[in-house]
Symmetry: C2
Subunit: 243 residues, 2 copies
């Protein structure tokens, strides 16, 4: 059962073309973590060089008024989650990220902290994928084998970050993003997939979900025509069991 | 130990922009299967609609002088592999394909027939991915969870089908194909990855490998600069243990 305390900021992409790291969502980050959170627990597992990645996140969050502790610097990762005021899981490779979350046994504890204790959770790209039911709609290469594709499950649907509509001028014959998501929906009992274009993000406050940012999102549901939503749209219906 | 009888045709893509199904490689298909093979065993597991997919393959192969039996029409898939004169595994979703190969228990038997009996194996796109060490360099979405990413292992390296160089004009911030393959090579003990552009294919005859088709291929090796190869290049060095 999803509780009413759940607070999420699920961002499509860490960097928007022409901007710096997290620039395009910095006001949303400050609005989300607010003034009560002083320290954010960063999870750099999606990239190989965790020290360098932590420095990037730490430098950016410092300019926004937050101190960053990285989970990879903690002697006990589960305990670090247990004490976190806020959590931010960054992008990179989704398979590497999910495998590391399982290897470090923090999947259940992150879920518990967010759903039961109301600890605010921010994800970007791969960090957004792992917040959903499963990583089955990631764009990443399966460079390592995780023990499951099931993810943290903070929302009852899937997300495709970096979503982009088919390019009518493309001569490339690999599947379009839409075709890939349709293939997912050919499988039984597959949930909705929210395609978040670069520049968009989803904010969840309890039972309320709102599309934020400057670009649109496209919602794919099994056996139905996809629907596009503008920034500002109320997507709270995605949080109910029927979806 | 890889035997000298091995015969493979590993195609990047089933359809080239502006052409029909397998048009761009039809002369190579006839040259590969030759006049001795009369019936080709088709594996349609990568697509959801296996009947429709089999009709597409059957119609095309008939124009090339071959009859097609589909493995999904056989009462005993392992027995169908045991009796095959030639094998063709088509493209689609690589995860769905590999899971079905394991579910139907044909991975080992296909490997045995190709490496020990010299049965010619053709793969296209996902069918090329599963011919290599692992599916870790597929472009597809992980829509189902296979019991392993290890594949049939007919060659001692990996392939990235539909390979494309970075687009300098792109404003999209998702990883380029090159970045994705580099992330794979950040993991320990990862083999070479041959990026086969659309229009290219690899033909293997025993210990000899040759790049065919009209486009180039780019070879990625762990910790080294990538190298581009022209059609006609001898890539036999990829078949030795050092690679
Ligand atoms: Ca990624
Ligand atoms: Ca594919």
């Amino acid at each position: 059962v999803l509780t009413i305390t759940r607070r999420l900021l699920l961002v499509s992409n860490s960097t928007l073309h022409g901007g710096g790291y997290l620039d395009h969502c910095q006001t949303q980050i400050q609005d989300f973590f607010g003034k009560d959170v002083k320290r954010v627990l960063f999870v750099p597992y999606a990239l190989h060089d965790r020290d360098s990645y932590t420095k990037t996140a730490r430098d950016k969050f410092r300019t926004l008024g937050y101190n960053v502790d990285s989970i990879h610097e903690a002697s006990d990762p589960v305990d670090a989650v247990r004490k976190a005021e806020g959590i931010f899981i960054g992008g990179g490779n989704t398979f590497r990220l999910l495998k590391s979350l399982y290897d470090n046994k923090v999947v259940t504890e992150i879920r518990r902290r967010v759903l039961e204790d109301g600890v605010p959770y921010m994800g970007s790209s791969a960090g957004t994928n792992v917040a959903t039911i499963s990583i089955s709609t990631t764009n990443d290469m399966p460079i390592v084998y995780p023990p499951s594709f099931s993810a943290i499950g903070l929302v009852p649907f899937n997300i495709n970050p970096h979503y982009l509509d088919p390019d009518p001028n493309s001569r490339h014959m690999g599947e379009t993003r839409e075709q890939r998501i349709r293939q997912y929906h050919e499988e039984p009992d597959t949930p909705c997939v929210l395609g978040l274009k670069e520049g968009s993000m989803l904010r969840v406050e309890g039972h309320r979900a709102t599309l934020l940012g400057t670009t649109k999102a496209r919602l794919f549901s099994r056996g139905q025509t996809s629907v596009e939503y503008d920034p500002g749209s109320d997507l709270s219906f995605l949080l109910t069991d029927a979806h």
